[in-house]
């Protein structure tokens, strides 16, 4: 058993709690470390077939000839699935009843007009994978070649190629006006349009600066031009951030079969409950007819927020062949279909006052989207920059360009990370030019309290729930011995060292979801968890709140998760770092509901008013002594009482999904269910102050990250070990973008060249600094009952930014103009005395 006290010297949390802020053994731990945990690929079903995918060899083309006869004639080949077998994309309805029209130009699971090399074209199901692979080699398929483009700037040029036949950008359509007395109609889905810049726009490119033509989206507040004009220092910098695969260790392997009209799907997904809607939309089926089994997920990082569209391939093949079908995905296939962070070509003009305050910030981003549905990175980048650096005036402009590269998706701090990575080297350079301390300049611009962010909406800017980033910097500077480190000599022998610090933040919470628990007649508490088990431990962490509030030991609690046939409550998407915040609220709400029901049951049983009873130590008892009952007895009594007590009646305000689960659980004990309706003023974010030291060998350009510290402002700490995993792990995810992770394409053929781990180079454990520390402020957020905010994504930007800043501290500002920064960049720039990298070409 891990010691609840943690390692010696480790920060202690949860002084006023029994369970919150303490380490514990999570319910999935033993299965994970002993290999008993079953991921989708570990399942087998009777008569199961295997399927293999035929991937497009062309970056953009149309199938002009397809002959399946030889493959179908092979013994062991059972079915082939093509685009023609897919259901039409279905509209979806939000929680609030708003219909979202299906995007007919969006991504399909299989396509006859592939728009990137590696896109699945068809799938073959056979008795084994060897037969399926050999069958694919017997398929005669020929493509008509269509124009393609991998670099957004090439597509924006006058007469540049378009990734899609219809154009190179998505154009949002306004909703038609509402008729009087009727609900506002939903806007039509976005359409693909064309955006081209002029030759004169591109003149900037020759100077190594990002051309800034017509933007698709823009917002601003304050007087940016005046701010820049009056600034003591104006920096105008262009920067390129890398495209990076999510590289989840569990591939998108899926098993599917049909029983009694229901489809059972085993897959890895970040969210359990929320994945059903996606599957229902892709299969054009009622989500009630889908059972999702996903007890363990080997990483998501945003790429499996609500599953993935390719899961329907084995489901439909299974329907066609009438036997279970397993689709195993290879690492190379995962590269194509497994999503990635979009790279940015960005430019910022930032005006500083003499004391380092940002007077004005003008930001322009080009986001490389891949061929399908638009990612929100561009817009998020502007919002996060506006929050984190609090410029007095700011303009953000963005273009999201379609390219014939694998589809992007949200990756840990989508957009926020890219915004931070473009901004941080500028801030570091400004501090050097203004002779200011790096920590101080960040503190001077840091958000505090209910700090504003983003554009004005209805004449007012939004604000955050709370921010204690300055405190994080103070704590970090002390723990990292910042002052001592900057005073030390920098150069010795061929080595130069440098220290860097970075601000970091991201969205960290949503509201309004449901909690559902059953106090069983044996006294145990079944906690129904609709959260996905994506490795963050939020799946059980948030429910510690239930035990804490009810005063029961954790050992009495059973967390039920990972299977949608097990009556789960309406739960948030495990993405956007919202789970800890959203679901501790729901857990708090349901615990309060249970407490209230226990008090009522006691009052009904022993007389008196419910308020005269108290719940603690696994009993309900009269305050000040007297009658009491165990939770087991209360559960038995709840079943006798029925109605709202045992789930035969459900609260009005919970989601209909929760209501169905309550109905199914009815009679099993005391059923408590509640929706999170706690007040919430502002948008929830979490913050990280990141510190790093690097040591560079100037003769080879190789460098080591020798020290790293991340101090998190995440509100109340729920589970220190899991928090450590997130703060450090996601910092490493960010470091990957600084030290080597990237995509490379061959522009002639539009093919991915970096297909394998040894090409994409995600960071390894030996790239991680030996001395890697974390700390948390543990200051509760005032806008949520438990005080906890999310942490998954906020550390990422800082993980990258601190390394980049440490490098420029060591080597100067004239080394890099893009990330990652590798030894080739360092060595050639040191040789030449100026940045030597091609400043703007994508994918080099």
């Amino acid at each position: 058993m891990p010691s609840p006290e943690g390692k010696p010297g480790q920060q202690k949390f949860g002084a006023k709690y029994k369970l919150i802020g303490k380490d514990y053994t999570t319910p999935d731990l033993y299965a994970k470390v002993t290999g008993k945990s079953k991921y989708a690929e570990d399942y087998r079903a009777d008569g199961m077939l295997f399927c293999k995918l035929l991937l497009s060899p062309v970056p953009h083309g149309r199938v002009k000839h397809l002959d399946l006869s030889k493959a179908l004639a092979m013994p062991g080949v059972k079915a082939i699935l093509t685009q023609d077998d897919l259901p039409a994309p279905a509209d979806s309805v939000t929680d609030l009843g708003v219909v979202i029209k299906a995007n007919q130009q969006g991504e399909k699971a299989l396509t006859m007009e592939p728009t990137y090399q590696g896109e699945p074209v068809l799938a073959v199901a056979a008795v084994d994978e060897l037969t399926a692979a050999e069958a694919i080699e017997q398929i005669n398929i020929q493509f008509e070649h269509l124009p393609f483009v991998v670099d957004p700037l090439d597509s924006l040029r006058p007469n540049g190629p378009n990734a899609r036949t219809e154009g190179n950008v998505w154009v949002r359509q306004p909703a038609p006006p509402a008729k009087p007395g009727e609900k506002a109609p939903s806007p039509p889905p976005p359409q693909i349009g064309e955006l081209k810049w002029t030759e004169s726009d591109f003149a900037e490119l020759k100077q190594g600066r990002l051309p800034m033509g017509k933007a698709q989206d823009e917002w601003s507040y304050g007087d940016v031009d005046a701010g820049l004009k009056n600034a003591a220092l104006v920096l105008d910098e262009t920067f390129v951030t890398p495209d990076s695969s999510h590289e989840t260790l569990e591939l998108r392997t899926t098993l599917a079969y049909w029983q009694n009209g229901k489809v059972f799907i085993h897959m890895g997904t970040q969210s359990t409950v929320q994945t059903l809607a996606g599957l229902g939309r892709w299969l054009n089926m009622d989500p009630n007819q889908i059972v999702l089994i996903s007890e363990y997920t080997g990483g998501g990082f945003g790429s499996k927020a609500t599953g993935y569209i390719f899961a329907i391939i084995p489901a439909l093949l299974s329907k066609k062949a009438n036997v279970p079908v397993m689709m195993r995905i290879s690492r190379e296939e995962e590269h194509f279909i497994g999503r990635a962070r979009p790279g940015f070509q960005g430019r910022m003009k930032v005006g500083f006052s003499k004391d380092g305050k940002i007077a004005a910030l003008d930001m322009f981003t080009i986001c490389n989207n891949g061929p399908y549905d638009a990612v929100g990175d561009a817009n998020a980048s502007g919002r996060i920059v506006s929050l984190l650096y609090q410029p007095a005036a700011m303009r953000w402009r963005g273009v999201t360009v379609l390219t014939n590269t694998p589809p992007r998706g949200p990756q840990s701090a989508p957009g926020g990370m890219q915004g931070i990575v473009i901004m941080e080297p500028i801030l570091a350079k400004a501090a050097r030019q203004l002779s200011l301390d790096q920590v101080e300049i960040r503190k001077a611009n840091a958000p505090q309290g209910k700090a504003p962010f983003g554009p004005e909406m209805d004449g007012k800017r939004g604000h955050c729930t709370s921010a204690f980033l300055k405190e994080a910097f103070d704590r970090g500077a002390e723990q990292f011995k910042w002052k001592e480190r900057i005073a030390r000599p920098k150069r010795s022998g061929t080595k130069v060292r440098g220290v860097g610090v970075s601000s970091s933040a991201f969205f960290a919470g949503s509201t309004g979801y449901d909690g559902l628990i059953v106090i069983r007649p044996d006294g145990r508490i079944a906690i129904q968890s609709g959260i996905g088990n994506l490795g963050t431990e939020s799946i059980s962490d948030v429910h510690r709140v239930v035990a804490e509030v009810l005063g029961v030991t954790w050992e009495k609690c059973d967390v039920i998760w990972g299977n949608t046939s097990q009556n789960l409550p309406w739960t948030c998407v495990s993405g956007g770092s919202q789970t800890t915040h959203a679901m501790t609220r729901a857990a708090h709400a349901v615990a309060m509901d249970a407490q209230k029901k226990l008090q009522e049951i006691a009052a009904k049983t022993y007389g008196g008013k419910p308020e005269q009873y108290e719940v603690a130590n696994e009993r309900v008892f009269r305050k000040g002594g007297g009658k009491s009952m165990t939770l087991a007895q209360a559960a038995q009594r709840a079943i006798q009482l029925g109605g709202i007590y045992d789930g035969h009646e459900a609260p009005e305000d919970v989601n209909k999904y929760t209501k169905a689960s309550i109905a199914a659980l009815a009679g099993q004990g005391l059923v408590a269910a509640a929706k999170d309706k706690y007040p919430h003023d502002g948008q929830t974010f979490s913050y990280v102050a990141s510190f790093a030291e690097v040591e560079v060998d100037t003769e080879t350009g190789m460098y080591d990250i020798t020290d790293f510290l991340a101090v998190a402002d995440v509100g109340t700490v729920i589970h220190p070990k899991a928090l450590a995993g997130q703060v450090l792990g996601r910092s490493i995810l960010g470091m990957g973008h600084a030290i080597g992770q990237k995509w490379v394409f061959d522009p002639q053929y539009g093919h991915t060249l970096s297909r394998r781990f040894y090409h994409t180079k995600p960071p390894t454990i030996l790239d991680v600094p030996v001395n890697m520390q974390w700390a948390a402020l543990d200051i509760p957020d005032p806008e949520t009952p438990v005080g906890a905010r999310g942490i998954g994504e906020p550390p990422v930007g800082g993980g990258c930014g601190a390394i980049l800043n440490a490098l420029s501290d060591a080597l100067g500002d004239e080394i890099y103009r893009r990330a990652p920064v590798n030894l080739d960049t360092i060595l050639t720039s040191l040789e030449a005395g100026r940045p030597m990298q091609d400043p703007l070409t994508a994918f080099i």
Binding site: P57, V58, I141, Q142, F143, H145, D746, Y749, H751
Partner: protein, 283 residues
């Protein structure tokens, strides 16, 4: 077994990449076979050459003892071309049959020499030599037909003697033009695929398919040249052709040989023995 090697291009298309290398042996054997068949034919079946009488003794008497046939420039061209051709063939095909050495540099340098020499030859032959002397004319065809009829034992008038070049020689030259120009034109483009001193490497001048066909043409013409060169060398060393071969070295042939094989009306040689006019052409 096809005569073309195919590969799958990055875009999934089946594209030719080069000829099948067994064609090297096919070409070599074809050349040898020709040699054997021809040698047997000459030894056992060929009849004595007969021609209509032509030049009057008067004309013959005016001829110099040595008839000028190939100018120095023409001879130099021939031997430079021959040398580069041998280098090209050996550097091209020896590595394919297992003799490993650094062949590409020699190959492109020899190719460059060949190309320059051919350009020289085209200009030289077009403007300074009797351009038409190497091209078959009506008389060649008529005489060939006569010879063919006589070979079959049919009655036919005697053919005339040859002009400067016999028909076979002219046809050979034609075959060399076709194969030579094929390897040269494709070869010049192929130089953009390797590092040379001429232009930056750019293998994307044409589509994969066009390049593939170009390599196949280069290869087919190349192995064709193996056969042609074997045949050429064979004729050069045949005893009855030695005077012609010698003339490619010294530039002249004896009056006797000239009068025996050539028609002074069709190959007019200046009478003055002192100042032989350059009338040569190269093959």
């Amino acid at each position: 077994m096809g005569i073309i090697e195919w590969a799958t291009s990055p875009l999934g298309q089946s594209v030719p990449i080069h000829i099948a290398w067994f064609l090297i042996w096919v070409a070599l054997i074809a050349g040898m076979l020709f040699l054997v068949v021809h040698a047997i034919y000459i030894r056992y079946f060929a009849k004595e050459k007969e021609f209509v009488a032509d030049a009057s003794p008067k004309v013959a008497a005016q001829l110099p003892a040595r008839i000028p046939r190939h100018s120095l420039a023409a001879r130099l061209f021939h031997w430079i071309m021959a040398a580069s051709m041998f280098v090209l063939l050996f550097t091209a095909f020896l590595p394919k049959v297992g003799v490993r050495f650094d062949w590409v540099t020699y190959h492109w340098i020899a190719g460059t020499v060949l190309t320059i020499s051919i350009i020289f030859h085209i200009i030289h032959a077009s403007f300074y030599l009797d351009f038409w002397s190497i091209w078959p004319d009506r008389a060649d065809v008529e005489d060939a037909w006569k010879r063919f009829q006589r070979f079959r034992g049919e009655s036919s008038a005697l053919p005339r003697k040859f002009a400067k070049y016999p028909l076979e020689n002219k046809l050979y030259h034609g075959a060399i033009i076709v194969t030579g120009m094929s390897v040269i034109l494709t070869g010049v483009f192929m130089m953009s695929r390797v590092r040379t001193i001429f232009f930056p490497r750019n293998p994307y001048l044409f589509s994969d398919m066009t390049w593939g066909l170009m390599y196949v043409l280069h290869g087919l013409a190349g192995v064709g040249l193996i056969t042609l060169v074997v045949v050429h060398v064979y004729f050069a060393i045949r005893p009855e052709k030695l005077p012609i071969t010698a003339s490619m070295i010294v530039g002249t042939m004896s009056r006797e040989f000239y009068l025996k094989e050539h028609d002074p009306n069709r190959w007019v040689v200046e009478a003055s023995p002192n100042v032989p006019r350059s009338m040569a052409d190269g093959d």
